[in-house]
Symmetry: D2
Subunit: 356 residues, 4 copies
């Protein structure tokens, strides 16, 4: 099978680097273009990344020699992954969609638009139904699909199997990794021996995206889930991996064992053969003091959500700890899995049949 | 005025060192004895602390030459501050109280006993009324008074001025400093680039001590406050200063401005002249990203609770961030302030009139 | 005595903040002006520093309301302390000197110019003799005096008392603090769980400034000291305090005890009454594992150089560890002490007699 | 080919865990025994390691169920890898050698004994000739072979290709990782925002082991290399990976290009087929600020020594930065590669022919 040609918008940032890393040797996708700001355009990716590549694996050999392009339609690919900064992502992604590209975006700009799917393949694949609406509304040849914020995606992954128990209230406090702020991001003097109890816009994202993700899709629109939730978001001195303390109210009052089993058994993509799909999307650890970011963030190559300490909450009934890799499943890996689902479901195939 | 002679039990640990540091040049108390385990007894404090003194100020000159005693009654003092480990504090503190000493303890052993005051001078000074009950129950010449756990004390300090608004529900997630685990405490390999989402027994302490502290004292006993609360406790890579994310339900639905003002105006010890009493027990910061442990833990010499980000909570109504020094106001400083209040109220004076 | 009016150039950066902090309540100097880039000019210092003040003491009350000026002559002061970035400090400092101001600069731009004193009051006060040369060469009403690089100053402080033993060769490896890179400076993702074995230009500064500082002043010029030295400079995850591993060759082959005593007894400013002069400029610690940045950087209010582990070196004869605060004695405090010496020696008095 | 049965002594510590991890699926060795202290003996390895396994990969499934034995001869294996603490390793290792086992030890106890090879396969394979001497001296059926200290091995790896240029003097300052101190090892309160400029016995090890490793083997003994060297050893806040700043004197005065090439071309094991041998034992990085522990420690699966910043040293002529993984190539991986060389050279085959 030929591989789908893909481009990466914002290929030089932290999430862009993850796209480059994770797409090396991908069985379905072949990176043919890397694009970034005007400042980088015209140089090879290897030149541009001198001193800026922050991952511990080397830059894939074939991408090193690619000439970086500007983020403008005309790239030789069918699918673009967007890791653009929010202050520029909006119009650029629209331009690509209008020009017929499939855009799988990690940026926040279009996530909450009514006709844009905010997608987690394990959670709400039916929301892809919004694409038909989007195409009709916008008159686009292409389309935009988005993945959630890095904290939200792991939270919602774990909430989904609890929906059957009547999830109605939710409390979450995050302790988020430095890589979530990009590069250079958080100054070392601000975080050494410190906690920063504020991340701009983050609490709002968690509080709104969660409801759309868990919402019902019917008659061309998504109705937000009727859940009341509150988020406290903090930055801590961890390189990768967001930790979240979660309390939930489940109206059906299941036993702790049933809650645990529901999480462990949750595996709706099982057997679908999506290349980036983890064998177990939710791993439940039994140790008293896990999950921990340094120990658990790389489970399932960073694509799992790891849960531990499932116990009673005096206030809401149930509480637990959640951990997930923020730039893999929380960003680049999420967008890639979304695109894999779209290939599987024919959304990309329709536009590029000859290449698959 | 002569100073009250005081001893320090467990003087070699992290909290014991804070007692030694904070009592140097104290206007009311004079350290005359330092006691520790049998292993240390017989050597000078300076010898014992070689390589173990972890504070950035030097060991006070006069204490350096003290011979360390065993933790047995017979010490030349009227008041003992206890920084003993919980696995030995119980019987030792009782023995001192039985022998006529006033024991101001930071250990958890007796905190929840019905006739032992769990005291914060700004919050529940009337709980000192339990001493009469204690003396009657136990037949002791002396007495035991305790201060709360390092997370709980800052939380309750800030909750007290909210009680007037009908505090009924409460959610707290802590991010606690390394010094709270003592020395050597947390291994560096366990916390570098990591979060540990578990501290043994801590959530239970926060959930029970809070209710006793805010409980009503009447007819010789404390009735726990009718509040439902839940705590998530985490260890983070911070040397000193516990950060807490708090959501509260206030039935009277005050404005955010009124909540802020209630905290800022809270100062019940104002004018009493207790030497360790902070000018402002609660400091409310206006910056978007404060309080932070490295920046705010030393405000009021570590005796303040620092609040920020007072805002609406979709779930409980109000949320904010709280920060406090865990080994000063959260431990040694708390026990010292308790003893100061007891001097002021005549509890120590009665047993040692000649020395004050 | 009236205080000398002083201005701070570059008052918003890390070193500029230290100037503001250290000059609060200074007995000889009164801050009357704070200046920074055009971007900040016109706002109050308090407004500009919102979110940028990184010290744990609060902004001094009186400076908070100062209107920030541009870095142009015309400021109402006689003396300016310069914490300007090297890319702009050169012409600005010259303009101030030409306009009659005394400039005490922490910037590197003029340090190695033959007629500019590179000064450490304890080490080479006679180099102030260059001022007469400078004034003649340049035709300036004012003057420029500089202090060394933050690593160099502590190194040279400790080498000075060893000069009597015939210091001829020297090896130094530094482990430098984050604050030395300014703010935002080092990205947290670059230094968490890491060491950066490179600081641009730093090794060259150590290798050249050391020779000028220890050089002989005669007939209007400084002859570099005939010492061969090599520096390795590294960045480590420490907020403040540079640690240096030093090996030296001393041709006179003194005993280790004599080396120790020479350092401990070194105190050439003793009795001169300079306000920022430490009681002991060099402190020698006896513990096996000291000095350490977190424990020793604040000794003598950050104005001391702290030495430990004086022992034999198989290669050069003697080795030891050195520690010093990089933004106090290594920057702002150094420039202030230089200015105090200039007041004492009449260099500032001559221009501003009425105010002292 | 049957695999050689191997046991791991001290299997529960940090280095013991690395042995367990690295030997999983080893093509020549099969772990059949894990041994540790009396306290652990009798339980399964999985039980014992509950909460003590500190690596981010899981415990290999087959080892999890092994019953931990005491460290006494009688284990069912031919080869033992020793990760024992130095305070007990001496007699235990001798007992195993006397009982006929081949002991590949990471402990320091026997390293400097004249008839014990201190071995790096790339550097001094001819030192294996000491085994015949050892067997004759001791009358052992088995034998002891050791690998160097974690700092020394990477240093000597890089010095070996420089020997051809007449290496005569050497200066090294190390910045060593926390895992080198074992677990729990360094307390978090001692290293957060700090450097510890002392590691007990480490400087002596570097200064003596280096000379033996580079020494000439002839007539049954090793003559130490005639090099004068000095080491400064420091602990820094890094999980894995020792960084070393090195200056060397090379009497032949090669060009920097020739020094670089000598390191890059050094590959004496090339083509021998040892399973743990890295493709490139020395990697030279060209970036201005590399190597760095977080970025480079895992190159060649932790088996490489990584060099950068090769430049002139004003004092000795040449300087560079060196980085290596301390618990892989610096400990367990070193002992495994030593054993592989011994299999290749027939030292193990002779005692256990049927199994290879």
């Amino acid at each position: 099978m030929n591989r789908v040609k893909v481009g990466i918008l914002g290929a030089t940032g932290m999430v862009g680097q993850r796209f480059v890393q994770l797409l090396a040797n991908h069985p379905w996708f072949q990176v043919t273009e890397v694009a970034a700001s005007e400042r980088s355009a015209g140089k090879t990716y290897g030149e541009v990344m001198e001193g800026r590549w922050k991952l511990t694996t080397e830059i894939p050999h074939e991408v090193r020699s690619f000439v970086v392009k500007e983020c403008l339609p005309g790239l030789d690919c069918r699918l673009v992954f967007s890791a653009l900064d929010a202050d520029i992502a909006g119009p650029i992604e629209k331009a690509f969609a209008a020009a017929g590209y499939v855009v799988s975006s990690n940026s926040r700009n279009h996530r909450m638009e009514p006709d844009v799917p905010l997608l987690i393949p394990e959670v709400n694949p039916e929301h892809l139904g919004l694409i038909a609406v989007q195409k009709k509304n916008r008159g686009w040849e292409g389309m935009i699909v988005t993945n959630p914020n890095c904290s939200t995606i792991h939270l919602v992954m774990v909430l989904k199997p609890l929906m059957q128990f009547g999830l109605s209230q939710l409390f979450v406090t995050t302790m988020q990794a430095l890589s979530g702020a990009g590069y250079p991001g958080v100054a070392s003097l601000d975080i050494l021996d410190n906690v920063i109890p504020y991340i701009g816009g983050e609490e709002e994202k968690v509080q709104t995206e969660t409801l759309k993700l868990l919402g019902a899709f019917a008659r061309g629109k998504v109705t937000p889930a009727p859940i009341v939730l509150s988020a406290h978001c903090n930055r801590v001195s961890v390189s990768d991996g967001h930790t979240e303390c979660v309390s939930v109210k489940l109206d059906a009052k299941p036993s702790l064992a049933n809650v645990t089993r529901a999480m462990q058994d949750f595996n709706p993509l099982n057997g679908m053969g999506l290349p980036s799909s983890p064998a177990h999307p939710i791993i439940v650890r039994q140790e008293a003091n896990r999950p921990q970011p340094r120990m658990d963030r790389d489970l399932e190559k960073g694509m799992a959500s790891v849960v531990g300490r499932i116990r009673e909450c005096p206030l809401l009934g149930y509480k637990f700890v959640l951990l997930g890799h923020n730039t893999i499943r929380g960003a680049a890996g999420a967008a890639i899995l979304n695109a894999e689902l779209m290939v599987k479901n024919g959304y990309i195939d329709r536009y590029d049949r000859t290449e698959i």
